[in-house]
Symmetry: D3
Subunit: 64 residues, 6 copies
């Protein structure tokens, strides 16, 4: 039944998304008894100019 | 006053969105007495490679 | 398939929520061809001290 | 860096949440190279009267 | 017009929320020309057992 | 620790986003004692055809 939203920077491959969605689904079934038939995992990707950590946009960071 | 977010696969026409936003707004006014002047409906669209049901990405499904 | 989140002040009855969820589901099926078997509507309720419009918390407003 | 929101019915134990948060974090690190120091997992729980699938509130369903 | 959601641990006073909502609204008007009449700020509070950073629930952390 | 999501129409410059993210971060630290090292601000932008106020899509409004 549940809905899981992943908020992340853009730039993952389809295969990375495939494995992530599968692993999160498995975790939901194993740990919180989720019914997988209605379980959705949605990945919302943000450009680096639209996400800040510690007040600094991704495009302005030197460490990533 | 409220805010309604619709999370959906991409690919709807403007006219589909127009009718959906109107119908959701009407439902909010009729059933929960929402003030429409501050009522927002936002449609977040996801590519099929970014949404999984039952652990399977949309791009990998055979049934849709 | 989709997921609809309604963000609203707390205080609706179960029957209001029942009718709202049904009406939004019907709108999704009619206007954007959603598959209702995996369609979720989730209502997130906020106390009036946790929601502001125009910079003013609900608990501080005189007009509602 | 990312943020993961889990939308689910209320009623899980602290230990179930502990295991779920750990498993999702591990999946994010393994599959999408997330930096775990800034990775948050937030579990939003909804009462059964505030979540509908297929247009029917959880409180009205016979099958769950 | 916009909608701002703040996801945070529970435990803030009404006055803290009042000042936060005002400051975020002012920032939206000053920096992105938001129309404040339709601008909402909603604060979603989570118990410490429902939020993990770095894979560890708030209730299990020693440093906060 | 917290996560702030800004839902807004598309069309802001990087510099507008930079100032907004900084101002929201500062407000979170000042008013609710947020730890900025784990504080994220994410800006989700919507095209005008995907956001309605008062039941009317942005593309159909004459006043904006």
């Amino acid at each position: 039944m549940p809905f899981v939203q992943v908020h992340i920077w853009e730039g993952r491959t389809v295969d990375q998304k495939r494995k992530l969605a599968k692993a999160i689904t498995d975790a939901m079934v194993e740990h919180v008894d989720a019914d997988p038939t209605g379980l959705h995992v949605a990945i919302a990707e943000y450009p680096r100019e639209s996400w800040a950590r510690n007040g600094v946009l991704g495009v302005d960071r030197k460490d990533v």
